[in-house]
Symmetry: C2
Subunit: 446 residues, 2 copies
């Protein structure tokens, strides 16, 4: 079985005719059939539909039409995101056969760019914290993370070359990091959530997972909203950076005040990673966060719980059997939150979003933190989102970058945080860091 290709590599083969969309799809399907029984990444597979799409995209190529680097690239879609005439199960028993009548905006955009939708990837129920059926391919008794569990695993196993995911707390960064794949959570509002089950609209982000930074950039290109009312700055990925920009960009800001504590294994690995980057001429600085940042963890929980309750409370009352314990307690917590507290939190949320943007004004910088407290824990939980939720709250774009392995062979990752609306700069920095530090990919041990 061939090693999974990156999108960037596959695109080159497809563009030059060295590989057809159909053959690329069959490679993905082979890996899917090889691993799926063990990892359970997919809730719905549309093999015939994917083959039809591949045939159509092959015919286009023969007719001289090339849509760009996603032409013929098989992707997975998290099962809270609508794909026309596939069910959007949302991890719910009752909604398991709820066929979507149209594509979500993000799906329609990837399709127009030539991507092939293979099917729907497992989500935790309603994108919350209840452990899914999915296993971590690096150790099946450990969690793949959540809520975008299936998307991370499908990409890690090469069942697809990229995947749509979503994050309200740490639902993109955490599973990507636990599974050793790359992820991008764009700026809040950069990608439309039209056609996506809400969890907490003030925090909900659609993002992507793939096997290298460049692939993240290629996936974001068609997804990024360009309507100037919604997004002040367009997104353009320029592929290669001009040499003279490098010095300015090779600067990372650690966050001494960032509250979560990494476990000993991550702390040690993160220190070693810092030393490695320094010897590749990366400059590390330290940046104090605004004091108001200290309130973020509990306030994030409040927003998530209250907005989840706004959507789910009535349904939970009527169909409590459709709610596993963690999402149920989230909703109940939200329902019992006094409204004035939520109102105060939302004031803090708006003010902090403005305040934190000032950190980027004087000198250009990228924040760096561990992506998680440590490697994926065992499967009773989906892991701790504490390193990620604050960035969902303030809405800054983040990239997670695998950089090493735990003693037990589980992936470890760093998290880079960039300036609002500047995914292009963030991805450029991530790409240079990737090139300088060289994550050694391994085949999944299954």
């Amino acid at each position: 079985m061939p090693e999974p290709l990156t999108i960037a590599a596959a695109a080159e083969f497809i563009r030059t005719g060295a590989l057809s969309p159909g053959d690329l799809l069959e490679q993905c399907l082979q890996r899917l059939y090889r691993y799926e029984e063990q990892v359970r990444a997919w809730v719905y597979l549309d093999r015939d539909g994917a083959r039809d799409q591949a045939a159509r995209l092959t015919a286009e190529l023969k007719a001289g039409q090339y849509r760009g680097p996603l032409h013929g690239v098989p992707i997975g879609v998290k099962d809270i995101i609508d794909v026309f005439d596939m069910p959007t199960g949302c991890g719910s028993k009752r909604w398991a056969n709820s066929y979507a009548r149209r594509d979500a905006d993000c799906v329609a955009r990837l399709r127009r760019a030539g991507a092939i939708v293979m099917g729907k990837t497992v989500t935790t129920t309603f994108a919350s914290f209840d452990p899914p059926i999915t296993g971590n391919p690096w150790n099946l008794s450990h969690t793949p993370g959540g809520s975008s569990s299936g998307s991370a695993v499908a990409v890690a196993c090469g069942m697809c070359l990229g995947a749509l995911a979503s994050q309200t707390g740490g639902s993109i960064t955490r599973p990507a990091s636990y599974c050793g794949v790359y992820s991008l959570k764009p700026t809040h509002g950069r990608v439309s959530v039209d056609g996506v089950l809400p969890l907490a609209p003030s925090l909900d982000h659609v993002g992507v997972m793939a096997n290298c930074v460049r692939d993240l950039a290629l996936l974001l290109q068609p997804l990024a909203r360009t309507d100037s009312d919604a997004v002040p700055a367009p997104y353009h990925y320029h592929g290669e950076l001009k040499q003279e920009s490098y010095k300015r960009l090779k600067q990372l800001a650690a966050l001494p005040d960032f509250p979560p504590t990494a476990g000993p294994e991550m702390a040690k690995a993160f220190d070693a990673f810092r030393d490695r980057t320094r010897s590749a001429n990366w400059v590390w600085t330290e940046l104090p966060l605004p004091p108001a940042f200290a309130d973020v963890p509990p306030f994030h929980s409040t927003v998530m719980a209250v907005e989840a309750a706004a959507y789910h409370t009535e349904r939970l009352r009527r169909h409590s059997d459709d709610y596993p314990p963690k999402v149920r307690s989230l909703i109940e917590h939200g329902f019992n939150t006094p409204a004035p507290h939520y109102a105060n939190v939302m004031t803090h949320y708006r003010e902090l979003r403005e305040e934190i943007d000032w950190a980027f004004v004087d000198t250009w910088k990228t924040f760096i933190t561990p992506a998680t407290a440590g490697p994926a824990p065992t499967a009773e939980t989906t892991g701790d989102p504490a390193f990620n939720s604050p960035w969902s709250y303030v809405g800054l774009p983040t990239v997670s970058l695998p950089f090493g392995w735990s003693a037990d062979g589980l992936p470890l990752a760093v998290q880079l945080i960039g300036e609002r609306w500047r995914e292009d700069d963030l991805l450029a920095v991530a790409s240079m860091l990737e090139a300088d530090t060289g994550f050694a990919r391994r085949p999944v041990p299954l």
Copy 2:
């Protein structure tokens, strides 16, 4: 079993406390249980949810909150329109358990106005022409009309006091007329189609059915869009008209050039109706339509077929078993239509919409025609939409008004057509006509 109330009457009882929302709902449920086995108007009934809503609305009344005339009014919703956590089956086997994740805009608006959603009413498959399981309550071997079959029957049987319906050809006017209920198809664009299965967006309208003209006006009030970009004139129903307006308004324009031919029974009844109105001081004039109107019937078919095919073609190929013969041939017709023909038709469509508006500029008038060629035919078809489709094409608002009975005891109706965005005037005229001509309601013979 008490006679079904109009919304206007029920609202007065509820406002004054003479009737509770719960008791009104139970009256509707009684009639539903009495007739449903014979007529099959509903595809999904949410009895417990409706009772919960009634209890909540009763509690609001006790707390002094009165939402207005729809407070506690039970309604039915055509099954191509999303209602949160009920399936939107669209008459499709494959979509029968497709639960909606949110209310359609029109449903959300009626809920905010206090309406109680009892459930989903039968639609023909994908709102096209294949006969539904639903029977006409005036004669079960005859069609109730389509595609809003269940909405018309549910209102006719008093299972709910009003219903949401939709029309692309004659899918509101025709079933309402065949079933002896009142209907309003508003101006194209007046009511949002967000959350509604498209058939042909250039022709798709959401509208309402009820048991008197005033009820139509009350239902439209919360539904009408007020965002000034989308609709140039707001809708306000003033309830009572000032005496001095009457003379100007009691003027009806027959359309000698309007192509469809009424059957002998309708022709005779329509003549008698004209005489009846004249003796009530209604002035009849004749109005020639723009010559371009002659092309409307085939062009309407083209738009409907092409736009239906744009949505359904790929799905039809993959799930042909989900498409009964008439909708299938509609889609195939659309698929085989040369695009330049459709482009020419759309030019005609835009120009005629502008041109026909000039007919209203000089003198205020309401067009009048039979609503259908005759009473409901037997159940092999859903009847002929030829009297209605042109008004879907030009997008003018229409009201259907039952006025009599066929020899076999089936209802007959006239269709009134008003000026664009002037549903208020149209409903005022319809209301006066209703008062002057007095349709004698009968209990359904079941």
